[in-house]
Amino acid sequence: MQRRSFFQRIPVAVAAVFAPRWARAQPIDQPIHELASVVLPASFGRERTDIVAADFLVWIRDYKPGAEVGSGYGHPRTQVTGPSPAAHYAEQLSALGSPISKEAVEKALAAAKVDRIPPRPNGRHVAADLLAFFFASAEGEDLLYDAAIRRDDCRGLENSGPRPARFS
């Protein structure tokens, strides 16, 4: 990971720590961190999986059911976001036991018939949703392509010609 990207994520994690108590006290907080260390690439390192986990918790907290979503182009439809995908996370995490093992996650995903990572978290299983959250993110893509593309940053026009630096 690029140093700059890493430090950009720190405020998110810090924000999670200093979030209101109701948000901090989510019972899923610690298990999500543990789950992240199991399902996200180990090569990513625990420090960074913790940052992703913290960001995922912020994402869950700030999710707005019933919000307008883009209507699409070509065949527009009025659409809104569905209910929070996190509704069953606590029980799904609990069913994984503690400490969470890779085998337990594999069994749970197989039982939930998850064979693909959804484009966005959809509530089918917390492990699949965490994977969706990560691999749909700019950092997830940067890891796959091994390039610090920094898709979601406003990067300026300068230096768009050279290949982005390696991510790893």
Binding site: E141, Y145, R151, C154, G161
Partner: protein, 526 residues
Amino acid sequence: MSTHESEVCIIGGGITSAMMAQKLSELRPGISITVVEAGKSIFDFENRFKYRERMVRYGENPWPGDFIEGQAADGGISRTMAVGGQALHWGGTCNRFSVEDLRLKSMYGLYADWPIEWAELEKYYCEAERRLGVSGGPSPFPGDKRSQPYPMKAMALTWSLEKLKQWGDKSGIPFQSTPQAKNTVAYDGRGACQRCGTCDICPTGARYSPDFTFKRLLAQKKVVLHDRTLIRKLALDDTKPTVVAAHGVDARGEEVDYRAKAFVVASGYTWSSHLLLLSANSRFPNGLANRTDQVGKYMNGHAFIQSMIEIDHDILPGMNPQYGLISRQFFRCSPSDPYVRHDLRIWEAGRATPRAADSSGRILLGDDIVKDWRARSPRGVARVRAYYDVHPAETSELTLDASRKNKWGDPMPKIVHRRDAATEARYESTKQHVQSIFERMAQNDNGKILRVNEGDYLDHPAGGCRMGIDPAASVCDNFGRTHDHENLFVVGAPTLPTAGCTNGTLTFVALTLRSAEEVARNFKKV
């Protein structure tokens, strides 16, 4: 009921409305102009980063509330209805049409000629590029004449686009950067593009959108803007075929009247025809400007075929995702050859999506997901698209659908696109031609066509109030002045006889700027 009087009333608040209002206010300083828009103003530029973040993280609409529930067309491609219109969301692509687009009948014996010379239109292309702030580079084709350079240099090619250009050029098809209404340097009070990659909502304002023009005109008190006011009907003078009023309903549900010397319908390809049809009266039982039953006819757009092609290049998606390449090689077609005209575009594309189980059903986690993904999709992917020219039948139309009404009881529009017989007859050969180009491109750099698909709608739609010389076959003249009503103009997309074979917005704006001069001629200089 409240009544508002002005010299010019512009109905609609999109990009052509903004350009009409701006130019009129320059040509006739002090003239009173009222712009009436059904949707709301989303002028909170300071919140754009916040909206962008919600879009990126949650897929939320980056222009909250930019539509009116129940006020939508069956067959429309966008539901946006707000001050700024569809150009709030647009990608900023500003391609010009070519001479051939305007000379279909005389060059190829097809469909109809436009009632305007390309050289005349070109002057207004230059003006449109200046007003919108277009960045672009010179074309490699001598046929793409320009009388003035682009206001700004083209955006630099990214790493990925440079590779894609090298690949495309190997096919003997010269590509260039696509001209865009995006600043490459500070321009017109807005900064240079910061490559945020979310042109759907440009958080920095480097991509032009009409809200900037309206905000400036309002600050200078050059226009009065009434948003959230739906115009439901135009009314005529009791004895003359002159439009005297636009009847509407405001956000509180109260009736409101706009009286003006000239009315400009700048409501886009859907709502312009719709309003004229809704305005039927005893003297014009089929709707205003519709004595010859041409309103809502010849609805047009262009078809498209797209391919994803895997190549031996390190293509990295997300470097500037809405910026691409264009070749104008196929804008021209020899009259002695079978007719096929299209643009050709290339964009960076993503590879396969990562998966949570392999083909045997084994669950993948962690680094195994990354390894599996890299093994499955080791090469770069290009998205190649051709927008090809199709010509509408007269029955390609917008009608009033009595089965769908808004809350005021007005029937909503229904659009059904139909192509003329000649277009239908060449469909297979057109498809084969485009497919052969994809194959030609895939011969280079170990290319492999992953898939090809056709659009199931016509893109960049236009028409419904086509311009022409003969009132029996058109709604308005080449200034947008309706044949039936001297003080009623229609501008922009609805006036186009055809949609060409590339994005239409620059043409909509160029024609509108020309119309503005004609509207201004009705008013004395102060």
